[in-house]
Symmetry: C2
Subunit: 202 residues, 2 copies
DNA sequence: CGGTGATGTGATCGCCGATCACATCAACCC
DNA sequence: GGGTTGATGTGATCGGCGATCACATCACCG
């Protein structure tokens, strides 16, 4: 019946991945609310009940989508940091806002999942890894005298809240997204005075 | 049929208000997602189709809920400001976070609606009024030399993003809500150094 | 007192999430 | 190689939801 010249291992091939792929596309198109199991199955060309063989319910499918998106998200941010040698924090914040603007629905999903209470083990691990690296950056900057020698976790949380709040305001259309970069610069300058270390004060 | 000793004007009384009341209760209990038109009608004791006489669709009902909640939200913040003579900004931020923690689902709803693009005229007016008052506070503080003489709108946006991001992190359980006040103090102190005016610098 | 329009009802449609018995096919064992 | 077994996909089905429609009911107005 099915033309399956390739050596697909099972009936369909690897249905779970296919489902997640289509679900991400659907998420990008119309938001998490629009990710219906039946529609995903339809796009994947399988029966409406097929996805339930791999995901116990819709929430589990969304969780898989979230994991995939979160991995992509954190990878991009870390890439931005490593590629921009100096000013890693501005690069990090800009990458965060840029990703949120490019994929607003993905941002909404990871927001609720990463910051939310019900974290998957994989999400939890990825999150700990990411925050750990950011804290390392902060400590390093403190040792170079570029940042105030305050509790690094406090600085991290505050910076995270700021970037996060700005991102949401951009995504929601509350701020002009086309001027994102300039506004980020100004806000960071404004608040940066409170966080800079001795070496950077005039 | 119905025992209506009170002089209720219509068949039911004023059904729209009743519906919104039950919808808000449902929102508080289980989030916006759980606000089903049928369930609201059930609680109000009317037929499933009755709400559609007053709200064209579910989105309109949710919009009415949002308006009611947004009014309550901004009233509480303004009350906090006027009751706390000095340090109005800390009072404002604390009131914001407190409300978000007390009613997380309401916060999620107004977030998407107030910051979001599709604002009801009533919401838009209330929002303009509110941000106007905050900006006045900022300008007044600048004239007293308590705040940096920077663009007041910039300061407002930055402060809003910070408080907003912190609120979301508390609501999502990412930060320990029981230590909200202390953490707000520390973050404001940390960033405040960048925003304070000449009169407050040591 | 009769009409008229606003309000509430019940039936109905299509979509969704979820479950079940059943079909199909790969893999494994003898 | 043939049979068994378990994983995977199907179709039917259930209940819930949003939305619409014809119909019933009731307040209000002339």
């Amino acid at each position: 019946m099915n033309s399956r010249p390739g050596g697909r291992p099972y009936h369909h091939g690897s249905l779970p991945e296919t489902l997640v792929t289509h679900a991400v596309a659907l998420l990008d198109e119309a938001g998490a609310e629009a990710v219906a199991v039946r529609e995903v199955a339809r796009r994947a060309g399988v029966a409406p009940s097929a996805p339930f063989r791999h995901f116990p319910d819709r929430a589990a499918l969304l969780a898989a989508v979230t994991e995939a998106v979160a991995v992509d998200f954190s990878e991009r941010q870390l890439a931005a940091v490593t590629s921009a040698g100096a000013l890693p924090f501005k690069a990090l914040g800009t990458a965060f806002v840029d990703y949120a603007l490019a994929h607003p629905h993905r941002f909404a999903l990871v927001r609720g999942a990463v910051f939310g209470g019900a974290r998957t083990p994989a999400l939890e691990a990825g999150h700990r890894d990411f925050t750990g690296r950011v804290t390392e950056l902060i400590v390093a900057a403190q040792e170079r005298g570029e940042l105030r020698r305050d509790d690094p976790e406090l600085i991290r949380v505050a910076a995270q809240a700021l970037v996060y709040g700005l991102s949401q305001m951009f995504v929601d259309g509350y701020l002009d997204a086309s001027r994102a970069e300039a506004l980020i610069d100004r806000v960071l300058d404004l608040f940066g005075l409170g966080v800079l270390g001795e070496a950077c004060r005039e």
